[in-house]
């Protein structure tokens, strides 16, 4: 039932290709663009699209059909973007600064593709493949006319630096959260009162809006920095790397702590009983029994924290912490949609990639420990 709704919605989104503009041609960055429609760029493709819709209408469970359809969906975004940016505008323009941007129906189509892929088998890998193809084409400069490419080429240096800064911020803050989280969770299983305190504290951070927290932490940090110059030299000041790093670490605590706590609590009492009765001491039980059994859930907590961290790192752009957020906010301030995309697409890609990698690790561990097949 839920699948049917998703299928209808996905198809409707792709259907917008027929009546909403797919792209905009701009003679330069500032001027308003001229919208164009799919009839301007498609010919035989309409035939393929029609076949595609028909395949959903007849709705047969057929493996061959499903493979063809998945393939079509995976290839659609990269092909669509390629054709849009290859649009030939008739008139006078300077080829070095003219650009083409995607328009509403192109975005809706890509959204539809992702929704439809999510109803197929192995959705995550297929969505990943589709985005990966777009990204590869982008990297090999197959979309030279695309506004996004123009923006990228113009600021390749900044982009690379911000990309790695983003990754560093997200991963380092996560790494700093892992050990305390596991420690908190382990202590929580032993003292109920402590658990309430710890969980209240950590939940507090999660509920408060990230931005306000960053603002709050800026005050004491900038005070410290201004009072003690040597701290300022160490990088302790109200803006920059440190406040973002602290906030991201605090945010990463919750998923890891709560997952570890659940995992440790889930261990059957008979297992713990027999471990004690065999004459193992607390440390031995911790390392030989509790943590190995909790590991898959701990990893899944780290996965959630990392994905969340990659998204939250965008806000570091606001306080001079750098990262892809700074590109996004620059784009927002100039209302340059292409610049916003240049910042946000890699974030999505990063989050998706790390999610898939960790899922594989989790499954590997489970199989190795004989907890699943």
């Amino acid at each position: 039932m839920k699948d049917t709704i998703r299928k209808v919605l996905g198809n409707l989104l792709i259907l917008t290709l027929f009546f909403l503009p797919v792209g905009t041609f701009k003679p330069n960055r500032i001027l308003n663009g001229n919208d164009f429609y799919s009839v301007n760029i498609f010919t035989f493709e309409f035939f393929l699209l029609a076949l595609f819709f028909i395949s959903y209408i007849i709705n047969r469970k057929n493996r061959f059909l499903s493979i063809i359809r998945s393939l079509f969906l995976i290839l659609l975004p990269v092909y669509l973007i390629y054709r849009i940016q290859a649009f030939q505008f008739i008139g006078d323009y300077d080829e070095t600064i003219a650009r083409i941007s995607l328009h509403i129906s192109a975005y809706l189509t890509i959204m539809g593709v992702i929704i439809l892929l999510s109803t197929e088998k192995y959705p995550k890998i297929k969505i990943f493949m589709s985005l990966f193809l777009v990204l590869t084409a982008f990297i090999f400069n197959l979309f030279p006319m695309l506004g996004l490419s123009r923006e990228f080429i113009n600021r390749r240096e900044t982009f690379n630096a911000e990309f790695f800064r983003h990754l560093t911020l997200a991963i380092s803050s996560l790494l700093f959260a892992i050990i305390p989280s596991i420690f908190f969770a382990y202590q929580s299983t032993k003292h109920e009162k402590l658990r309430e305190w710890i969980m209240g504290f950590i939940n507090g951070f999660q509920v408060a809006p990230t931005l306000s927290l960053i603002a709050l932490i800026m005050i004491p940090l900038s005070y410290l920095g201004s009072q003690f110059p040597f701290l300022r030299d160490l990088g302790i000041k109200g803006i920059g790397f440190l406040p973002s790093f602290i906030i991201l670490t605090l945010y990463a605590l919750l998923p890891i702590t709560s997952n570890t706590y659940t995992a440790l609590k889930q261990i059957e009492p008979s297992i713990m009983d027999s471990a004690y009765a065999l004459g193992l001491n607390r440390t031995q039980i911790m390392f030989k029994i509790q943590f190995p059994l909790a590991l898959p859930l701990i990893i899944s907590g780290i996965r959630i924290a990392l994905v969340q961290s990659i998204g939250n790192t965008i806000l570091a752009g606001l306080v001079g912490g750098g990262g892809l957020g700074s590109i996004i906010f620059l784009g927002l301030s100039q209302s340059a949609a292409d610049l916003i995309l240049l910042g946000s697409i890699p974030v999505v890609f990063m989050a998706l990639t790390s999610d898939i990698i960790f899922e594989v690790i989790e499954e590997k561990i489970k199989v190795r420990m004989g907890l699943s097949r």
């Binding site: 059957e268 027999s274 009765a277 004459g279 420990m369």
Partner: protein
């Protein structure tokens, strides 16, 4: 081997143990039996300090259990529980060897010990790499016994170890355990609420109620217990019938005969209860073949036997 002197234990308001005195001899199997909440599990767990008693004294190997380091005490005492508590992330071998590894045994010694234990409990040696979830209930229970015996403790505590098994498997595992016990002569304290299990395995049965031992004796003696109303209630009015399961036809000293009408499917190894069951279907005596000897069995044989053990 194990002495308990005036042991008491209270949980909040409820008294679990109210002055227990118990002497357990070396090599005997004591079965603690009673309804739920009678304190039998608490008594068992107090021996290896899984729970700490409030007052009284427990001595193991003629030394108060307080004088041992708790891990050391527990390694001297094997412990099996219902649901086995095998570690799901470890193989059968790692499960059995976990304490041996802590004690830093050599790898070849561990291999040898694990093989020894597996063959004793009649598990195939190929099982060492299996995971607990690949075992049947009975197999898992045997692995649990192996793990409890790994350090070769002379005391074994068993807390309803066969409670979760289906009746058929349970009987098999019980008999297997009896065989092992015949060979090893461990001092066993066994908790159950299954009267038949108690009769089958016990050297002595301790019948408990509300934190006290009501009656402590060999299974045979419980036959005359009807004066004590509670005891006979719990053990069942058919106690004598259940008791028959403890003995085999070989215990009856049956006559060998030459002439017979027809044979039934029994042997000297069959339980007296099975023999009685066949008798119920026959007008007079029944005959069976064991190793090319023919034996005769009648009600009288069983009656006489019961009289004998009653007066022993």
């Amino acid at each position: 081997m194990i002495q308990l002197r005036n042991v008491t234990k209270k949980y909040d308001k409820q008294e679990a143990l109210r002055g227990i005195d118990l002497n357990i001899n070396e090599g005997e199997c004591i079965v603690l039996i009673g309804p739920s909440g009678c304190g039998k599990s608490s008594l068992l767990k107090s021996i290896n300090r899984m729970i700490d008693i409030d007052s009284g004294e427990i001595r193991v190997f003629n030394q108060s259990i307080e004088s041992y380091r708790v891990e050391e005490l527990r390694r001297k005492i094997g412990y099996c529980i219902q649901g086995v508590g095998l570690f799901p992330h470890l193989s059968v071998k790692e499960n059995i060897a976990i304490v041996l590894r802590v004690l830093k045994w050599k790898e070849e010694d561990i291999d040898q010990r694990v093989n020894e234990l597996l063959s004793m409990t009649e598990l195939p040696l190929s099982y060492i790499n299996k995971r607990p979830h690949e075992l049947s209930g009975g197999e898992a229970q045997r692995v649990g016994v192996c793990r409890a015996l790994a350090t070769n403790p002379s005391i074994l505590l068993m807390d309803e170890p066969f409670g979760a098994l289906d009746p058929l498997t349970r009987e098999k595992v019980q008999l297997a355990f009896k065989e092992i016990q015949k060979k090893l002569h461990k001092t066993v304290v066994f908790v159950t609420h299954d009267v038949e299990e108690a009769i089958l395995l016990a050297d002595r049965i301790a019948l408990m109620q509300e934190g006290k031992i009501l009656h402590l004796d060999t299974p045979n003696k419980f036959m005359n217990l009807d004066k004590n109303e509670y005891g006979s209630d719990f053990l069942g009015k058919d106690y004598s019938l259940r008791l028959l399961k403890r003995f085999t036809l070989a215990d009856l000293n049956l006559k060998e005969v030459r002439s017979f009408n027809s044979l039934v499917n029994l042997s000297l190894g069959s339980s007296v209860k099975d023999g009685l069951s066949y008798c119920l279907n026959a007008e007079q005596s029944i005959y069976f073949n064991d190793n090319n000897h023919i034996y005769e069995l009648s009600y009288n044989d069983i009656y006489n036997f019961m009289q004998r053990i009653n007066h022993e």
